[in-house]
Amino acid sequence: MSRNGRIPNLGGATAYVLHRPHPTAQTLVRQLSAIGLAAIDCWPELPPAALSADFVFFDVDLGFDEQFPWRPGEAPMPMIALIGSEAPGRIEWALFTHRANAHVVKPVGTAGIYSSLLIARQNFEERKQLAARIDALQARVAERHTIVRAVAALARDTDYEQGFARLRHLAMSWQMSLEEAAGRVVALAENEDGNDERHHA
């Protein structure tokens, strides 16, 4: 049992239930409001206000891409799939195209909804954090070329190791990342070269 996390308070959160009028939608809305959420059912489209929702439950049996006001897989909130028929093609659509964060099996009862909310939110947040980390790492990878140029500029007549050590020292004293320091070194070196060229001209 982890003692680090804290179960979030779901009071006041908003959930849209994208399902045709059916006892499943009624049960779901009733249970969501018992848990303390504001629940709104709609079909066949999500209204514009759904963009600010905290959760979206969507029907996997009869769902289609055009129901969502975002590109498949780019929902700005946790998505919970309502699965009736376990046809592989439908699960594939929910899982790979719309990247559901959790699911509830139909017919929906009172059990399972609360845990689906918590699992979906956790899954969504982790995925978001992971994407942000990957973006940051990709940006750093893209700066490899700048680092090589900065090390070369700093090495001058000595070896690569010393050039790299100087770059690290500069990054520390400027209190910035290695990539940022490299960018500054390259800019300074280019300025110097420009001056030199003008001087020699």
Partner: protein
């Protein structure tokens, strides 16, 4: 009206007559049977109940069996029963399959709603939250958390950890004992070493009695552990267990919807001896009123039957929330004094919030406790 012919309804009674929480179980059973007798004797009520009993003997695995037997072998569709959350969770699937309803008369840890359960005793916003609001300003926010090793203790202590963090306190320890375990020496030594401001006790039955007796000895050895400095607080301790605890209980605190008081109103002249007895009694009274209006009322009719009305019970005029099927209840905090409780605080009507969705830490502990202190 006085001579109206009564219609007979079988009603399930699912309480253990033995096992380590027998005192609680007996109190619930007594409440249910007293209410059945009172309804049957009431010439104004068209309802006569015939109890159908099953005794699970304190074995968690036998509750589902007992529930199924009542639903299959009798015409009862409503069952008053279960003490532990473990047993309640065991019977819910049986109730769903058999179309039955459980009237649950014990405090529980919240985070549950079932169409097949009516929750007639308190959930955490009706016991744990007001209890902590009461104790933190008076004793401090550093707690030691105890529990029997099953869902009630785990979940109550989980909420308590969050509350203690919000109050700026520290969890000094968290320990669980197997159900029925009475060796508490190590717990006592850990509490002695960590010197909390209060002990939150979710041990049940014989473990709890053994702990309270050993804690009284600790208090005699070190005055920090006297109840006026570091009380043992709980959300399930009532009059029905005080005899088993004896003098060791004096001064400690408990929260619940009801404590027995000599004066005051008593519906049908009945004054329950504990909140367990009161909640089981209330369950049968509410059911009698519902069946009087609709003799076929089953689980699917309950939300409509609860809507826009209240029921006379030992808690007062009781409203049941149609969405969560939890009762609005008084919140009373009592201090053990002899064989009863001295009331130290009382709120008349607190609506249920089983998922703590209305929890607000500023309202809980006041803004001053939450201010970040600059270094």
């Amino acid at each position: 009206m006085g001579d109206r012919v009564k219609r007979r309804f079988e009603i399930g009674i699912l309480y253990s007559r033995s096992g380590n929480y027998r005192l609680v179980s007996d109190a619930c059973r007594r409440g249910a049977l007293s209410a059945i007798a009172d309804v049957n004797a009431d010439p104004e009520s068209p309802v006569a109940f015939v109890p159908v009993e099953y005794d699970p003997e304190g074995n968690a695995d036998r509750y589902a069996v007992g529930c199924a037997e009542i639903l299959h072998k009798s015409s009862a569709r409503h069952i008053v029963g279960c003490v532990t959350s473990w047993s309640r969770k065991e019977v819910i699937p049986v109730l769903e399959r058999g179309g039955g309803t459980l009237w649950y008369a014990c405090p529980y840890e919240g985070f549950e709603t079932s169409d097949h359960v009516v929750y007639m005793h308190a959930c955490p916003n009706q016991q744990l939250l007001p209890l902590f609001s009461h104790i933190v300003p008076r004793f401090g926010a550093n707690g030691f958390l105890l529990g029997s090793n099953y869902i009630w203790g785990w979940e109550m202590n989980r909420v308590a950890r969050d509350l203690i963090a919000d109050a700026g306190g520290e969890v000094r320890g968290e320990r669980y004992l197997p159900l029925g375990e009475t060796d508490v020496a190590r717990l006592i030594e850990e509490i002695r070493a960590t010197r909390p401001d209060f002990v939150f006790n979710n041990l049940i039955g014989s473990s709890s009695y053994a702990f309270l007796r050993a804690y009284a000895v600790l208090g005699r050895e070190d005055a920090h552990f006297l109840p006026q400095h570091c009380p043992v607080v709980s959300c399930n301790l009532t009059e029905c267990e005080l005899e088993a605890i004896g003098a060791a209980g004096k001064g400690h605190l408990s929260a619940g919807p009801y404590f027995h008081e000599a004066g005051g109103k008593a519906p049908r002249g009945y004054r329950p001896r504990s909140s367990f007895e009161a909640a089981a009694y209330a369950s049968v009274c509410v059911l009698a009123e519902i069946l009087a209006d609709n003799p076929d009322a089953g689980w699917e009719d309950l939300p409509a039957a609860f809507a826009a009305r209240s029921f006379e019970t030992p808690f007062g005029s009781t409203v049941i929330d149609t969405r969560t099927q939890h009762a609005t209840l008084p919140v009373v905090i009592g201090e053990i004094d002899g064989d009863g409780f001295r009331i130290v605080s009382r709120e008349r009507e607190v609506a249920p919030d089983p998922y703590l969705s209305r929890y607000d830490r500023t309202a809980q502990f006041g803004a001053s406790r939450l201010r970040v202190v600059a270094p």
